[in-house]
Amino acid sequence: MGQIVDIGKRIELVPMDPHFHDITIALYQQGQDESPLFLVHTYSQMEGAQGRIQFAIETMTHLGNLVEDTNRLLRFPCEAAHQLACRRAFLESCKLSPNDSAEPRPLQIPDKKSGLTITVDSLGQGIYQVQADGEGRRADRRISAIAGGLMKLGEMEEVDGTLDKVAFPCGHSHDALLGLLLVRAPNVRAIVREQEMAASRGVLAAPSQQN
């Protein structure tokens, strides 16, 4: 009778896709923390919906360093979960329209808060070093804050008590994924606010609780 089958655990949701008829797109995880696979899915049977899903999948491979496996399932080449980072790659991919470029982001960004240019260098074995150049202020604090942002967004770890180095626990490099996270790392609070606002939509409040 039902059409819904078990497709894994839903770990992220875009309730309304602004680029394709407001369809809902979700990210599902199949398997546990060891070698999980990720499925981008919509229940919409609207014509063209599967094309939109394929675009999101391909964008995730470009922006997030994921690889497309059989049956349109995604995984990281290192086979680790990196669940938070995968969710970020999914959300950022769904923000793009088919007309947008899905090129990997550079490992260098201007930091609006300090005026500095932030660069991240790969040191191998999944370790990255954050550096700052330019005329801006408070370079040490900004390096530390951005490294902290990367740790929060990508579940990365600090390296030997340093404030400027972070590492993926899998021990593998993920340059494209780091470029994606780097854009958001200077302002993690904005991400948290965005998530809280998204989560509060669609929750019915009693009349006495409504504004």
Binding site: I4, K9, M16, T24, Q45, L204, A206, P207, S208
Partner: protein, 351 residues
């Protein structure tokens, strides 16, 4: 486990729900949705998104049916919102988009004085009430033998918030109890008319939300303003009624149990054990599975834990505590019937 002690043969979802609403024996505890289990993913599945699914009967029926066809509940409830009547009464509605609930613009109240209360002549033919009636007819025809079709008619306290505004209505209740009772008495006609029309359309039971919620209204207030009115509804709307009030309500459950309502849809802020102790088999309890923390934010294991807790306490019908968040994961909703069935398998022969 009051309703499971006597062994009965296999029942349809409809028979199961109606028996549990009378606290009669059932083959297993029914899974009941007295409010809404609509989600954005289910809207996509059947191409029936909000806000259209709140205003077009075919879409409303199609989305509501997924509660049975996809999730496995024993009920179908097409009245997702709490604003259909208020729209027909003339309130301004913010219809929102697919991912949010429509709301009444309570800062633009339609009535300021009791004398202004008037039920429009087109109340039951207005698009937003007629949509509900037509959706019930569609569902009755298609699923009426299998599951219980549950409608909804809003109580006068909720209508008072919508039509007068929350603050003015609460202030009225403090300043002028006489006028407040008069207002409730006049607004009750909207509750009765819409309820009776849904019975005629084919509803098997009705949810009656009346938001005398635990945060703003005391148990004493409930007794003073609403107990007798709710008792009257039992006579005037001849069908099993499921009263819905959000929040911590143990302080008024004894009064609620005196009304003769078939069931009370209760919030997770009330423990199943303490609630069952208060109502003492005078009214069935339904609900209690937490929405924001469990169904929305946690996983199936936690959902199962809450279902089991209610079953262990002998709660008569299991379901979410209120309308579920629209982004709730389907796997969590499907876990409710799964957990009920597993619990009964585990306890087979123990009753």
């Amino acid at each position: 486990m009051g309703t499971q002690k006597q062994t009965v043969g296999p029942m349809s979802g409809k028979e199961r729900v109606l028996a549990a609403l009378k606290r009669e024996p059932v083959d297993r505890t029914p899974i009941c949705n007295p409010t809404s289990v609509a989600t954005v993913e289910l809207m996509d599945l059947v191409d029936a998104p909000f806000p259209e699914a709140n205003r077009q009967p075919e879409l409303m029926a199609r989305l509501a049916a997924t509660g049975y066809t996809e999730l496995g509940f024993d009920t179908i409830m097409p009245v997702f919102t709490i604003i259909q009547e208020s729209s027909a009464l003339g309130c301004k509605i913010q219809w929102e988009q697919k991912d949010n609930w429509p709301t009444v613009r309570m800062r633009e109240p339609i009535w300021e004085d009791v004398d202004e209360i008037k039920i429009p002549s087109d109340y039951l033919t207005h698009q937003d009430t007629k949509c509900v009636l037509d959706a019930i007819k569609i569902l009755k025809k298609e699923y009426g033998d299998d599951v219980a079709i549950i409608g909804k008619t809003m109580g006068p306290w909720s209508l008072g918030y919508h039509c007068f505004g929350v603050e003015p209505f609460l202030l009225l209740s403090l300043d002028d109890p006489g006028k407040t009772k008069l207002a409730l008495d006049r607004m009750k006609q909207a509750t009765i008319e819409f309820g009776v029309a849904q019975i005629e359309a084919g509803a098997d039971a009705l949810t009656l939300p009346d938001h005398a919620t635990g945060d703003l209204v005391s148990g004493e207030y409930y007794e003073r303003y609403l107990r007798d009115l709710h008792t009257e509804f039992v006579d005037q709307i001849p069908i099993p009624l499921i009263l819905h009030i959000c929040g911590r309500t143990v302080d008024r459950m004894d009064y609620i149990a005196q009304t003769g309502m078939a069931a009370f849809h209760y919030d997770s802020k009330n423990e199943p054990d303490e609630s069952m102790e208060v109502v003492k088999e005078r009214i069935s309890l339904v609900g209690n599975i937490n929405n924001p923390e469990t169904l929305f934010s946690k996983g199936p294991e936690d959902v199962r834990g809450e279902v089991y807790k209610n079953l262990e306490s002998g709660v008569h019908l299991i379901g979410p505590e209120c309308a579920i968040p629209l982004q709730t994961a389907i796997e969590n909703l499907k876990e409710i019937p799964k957990a009920v069935q597993n619990w009964h398998k585990e306890h087979a022969g123990l009753n």
